[in-house]
Symmetry: C2
Subunit: 312 residues, 2 copies
């Protein structure tokens, strides 16, 4: 069963790709076996991580970039990370508007990833989905994250090239810059660049970048874009290419790649250790009982967790 799925996946069949990603998301029993088969076939795609604040126009930018790559003959995978509603477990709004323009192209694969329950692991499942698309022969895999949270930053870090999208006027509030996204940008796009304040934002960004200390001595280019009018998209593609060529020289054993591998390993370990605990007989019940006792302040979380993991 998995063998067949793996073969179809490696042949680039979209349905097999979709199914494989679902297995990874659901943490299904044969997911590890699947990923073991997939992993050696990865490394050909250029993985582009795109992040920035809500409202920066990331989706439009991703769509236009994907269209440009399509025109050049590439197969494109798009993974959109949507932290889903913590209460209902599902996204409020359904499929993306982009599906209307790109979704019918069989050489474009679009997938939204959302949080699924306690095991979390959104970062891990996203990175696995990227590996699957890579192994399936997609030339460019674009990972778009909504928001600038901790997990989102980690997801973008795991890309070959990280693009941070800003908009003019965001400099009003330095929070946008404080959120830890500055240092992860290999390329910066100032989108909605037809708006007032673009020069000021560019100057502020340049000043901030001059303060940053990149170990690799790369100077991140700043590109102006107006995604809705398809302006600046080629420049963006050019900047992405420039960085990917810059790092290619570093080789597979580069410190960035090792750091990504280590992070990935720790994410997996964290998840599998918790899964071991949760799969143990009786844990669910014990967990509910302890949670109630904590809520009623009959005991503290620290002594409760000691009890929970003692026998493991």
């Amino acid at each position: 069963m998995t063998d067949d799925l793996v073969n179809r996946l490696l042949n680039g069949e979209p349905r097999a790709v979709a199914r494989a990603i679902s297995k990874v998301e659901d943490a299904s029993a044969d997911a590890p076996e699947l990923m073991k088969a997939v992993f050696p076939r990865t490394g050909n795609a250029l993985v582009i991580g795109i992040t920035g604040s809500p409202g920066a126009g990331k989706s439009s930018l991703v769509d236009k970039l994907a269209l440009l790559y399509r025109e050049r003959g590439d197969k494109i995978g798009i993974v959109a990370v949507d932290p889903s509603s913590p209460f209902s477990g599902g996204a409020i709004l359904g499929d993306r508007i982009r599906m209307q323009t790109l979704g019918l192209d069989e050489n474009v694969f679009i997938r939204s990833m959302a949080t699924r329950g306690n095991l979390g692991g959104l970062a891990r499942t996203t990175v696995d989905a990227v590996s699957i698309l890579d192994a399936a022969g997609y030339d460019k895999v674009i990972v778009e994250t909504v928001g600038v949270g901790q997990d989102e930053v980690e997801i973008v870090k795991a890309a070959d090239v990280s693009v941070v999208v800003l908009v003019p006027g965001m400099g009003d509030d330095i929070q946008a810059i404080k959120a830890g996204i500055m240092e992860i940008g290999d390329v910066f796009a100032i989108n909605k660049a037809d708006r007032e304040g673009v020069i000021r934002t560019e100057k502020e960004l340049e000043a901030l970048l001059s303060l940053a200390h990149r170990q690799d001595l790369w100077e991140p280019p700043i590109v102006r874009t107006v995604a809705t009018e398809s302006k600046g998209i080629e420049d963006l593609a050019e900047a992405i290419k420039a960085y990917s060529e810059f790092v290619k020289d570093a080789g597979p054993g580069s410190s960035r790649r090792v750091a990504i591998a280590k992070w990935r390993l720790l994410e997996l370990a964290r998840e599998q250790l918790l899964a071991r605990l949760l799969n143990r007989n009786g844990t669910e019940k014990e967990l509910d009982r302890l949670a109630e006792e904590i809520a009623e302040k009959k005991r503290d979380p620290y002594s409760a967790v000691e009890e929970l993991i003692r026998e493991l």
Copy 2:
């Protein structure tokens, strides 16, 4: 040593509070003992979580709200969650501007929380810091998260009252609303409400809220604020109070409190299981070796993690 620290903490000494939070952040060996002593003394503070997009003016709003509570005689704790730079491990910009206005008031305790290395656990350490401030006698503890990521959402969920801050014009891009923050808001503040588009944003928000299904049947109020001019702050405080009174009737065993306790327990379990692995002799070395092999595609992360956790 810890006994003394606990006593000073419970007496509300700011330096003891700061030290205790550092112990929790550093996952120091006596942190569990400390938290066991702290936990039974919690439950008196009103914990207010404030989230929203970068640029929404959350910091100003938090500052003004804190000032209002101070005028009313409350002791205030502010915990600002700053996902720090993933590369350097530190925030780029230093202390906050707010320190100039609030930082000199001895009844205001301000602390920034940042990611620290592999153990992560930003959500857990933040919630522990809130418990410490609660036990130390702070009447209101305000937790402010930058960004709308997965962890940030969980942190705000763990508050007694969750406030989501929006700004007019963000409706341009539905991403702001998709990021899973809609359903966690018990109160919504439209900040910068002197800007154009406030009515449209309010209408859109009302429409979205009418689609949401809250289990507790609470109808989240929408408050207009202009934090920089101290406008609407009393209305915001009123709305926060209204919700806190609404939930008080639910009692300590309410499903929300049990859900928070369960989440906290799982976070702790995840972290302590990983710590067990990392504290094992030789793990660091093995981890480095495996990460290098993964980076060089000599092996896949899944078989590597199996090897890593096999003997645990």
